[in-house]
Amino acid sequence: MSTRENIMRHLNIVGQLQPALHQPQHAPTGDLIDNAHFRAYTRTSHDVGGEADVPITWEEKEEEIWEHNTFVTCEVLAWRGVWNAEERRRRQNVDVGQTIYLGMPYYGRWLMTIALILVDKQHVKLTELIDKIEEVKQRAKKQDGQFYDAKGHDL
């Protein structure tokens, strides 16, 4: 098989590795994974160019308040030198792994990545993050589950 044929075969394999319940894997032994599948499982999830997909309805979307805030937080963290955008992309678009990559919303990954970088770079302990999320949720319960006012400011 030519090397370009190998490339095309890779695209066929990874195009089928999307969250699904019909190909269960329970950590097979090494002899069961050929090089093509080694490559497929260790692929970088963001590299989707050329995979097959179907025509869809192209849609616009209203931005959620949390999505806007998430985007701004990501840019401001880079502005203030906590990370650069490429570190963010690597964590957000590849480190998250294939299932989160296609399973979670676009800005859901941006948001998870903020949380993880705070812990990874030791600005925040994981226990502090957990406690803070819980505190914020309890606060929201007293506000009818709302975090923001009509203008998008924090309540």
């Binding site: 090397t3 260790t42 970088t44 590299d47 650069n84 490429e86 570190e87």
Partner: protein, 117 residues
């Protein structure tokens, strides 16, 4: 706490402007034919799989910058030249209709991904 390189290096200057002059002399020039190396892409790459082993023509030397694979860990030690490369769609995709033979694709890769042919 160490700060990301931008704050020190790029303020008032811009990125990739801040890396100007830091790469070794460019290996390729406009018009050169290159093949895209199929290096391991373990953990991170910004060199798309669909380009690997394909042939392209260098159309522009665009800027110097650390390769994305290093910048993704905030390492800016070794900037290299980045090239804009032109591919024929019929070279990339076996199913690309021959009647649209002139269709092309342009994208950028850093020097490590290229070999001369």
């Amino acid at each position: 706490m160490s700060k990301s390189h931008h704050v020190e290096k790029a303020t008032g200057v811009g990125d990739p402007q801040c890396f100007k002059g830091e790469a070794p002399a460019a290996k390729f020039k406009v018009g050169d034919k290159v093949r895209i190396r199929n290096l391991p892409d373990i953990f991170y790459t910004r060199s798309q799989m669909y380009l690997r082993e394909a042939e392209a023509t260098v159309v522009k030397l665009v800027y110097e910058s650390p390769p994305a694979e290093d910048e993704a860990w905030d390492n800016t030690d070794s900037p290299e030249w980045f090239y804009s490369l032109l591919f024929k769609q019929t070279d990339l995709w076996p199913d690309y209709p021959k009647k649209f033979e002139t269709d092309t694709l342009e994208t950028e890769l850093s020097e490590r991904w290229l070999e001369g042919i």
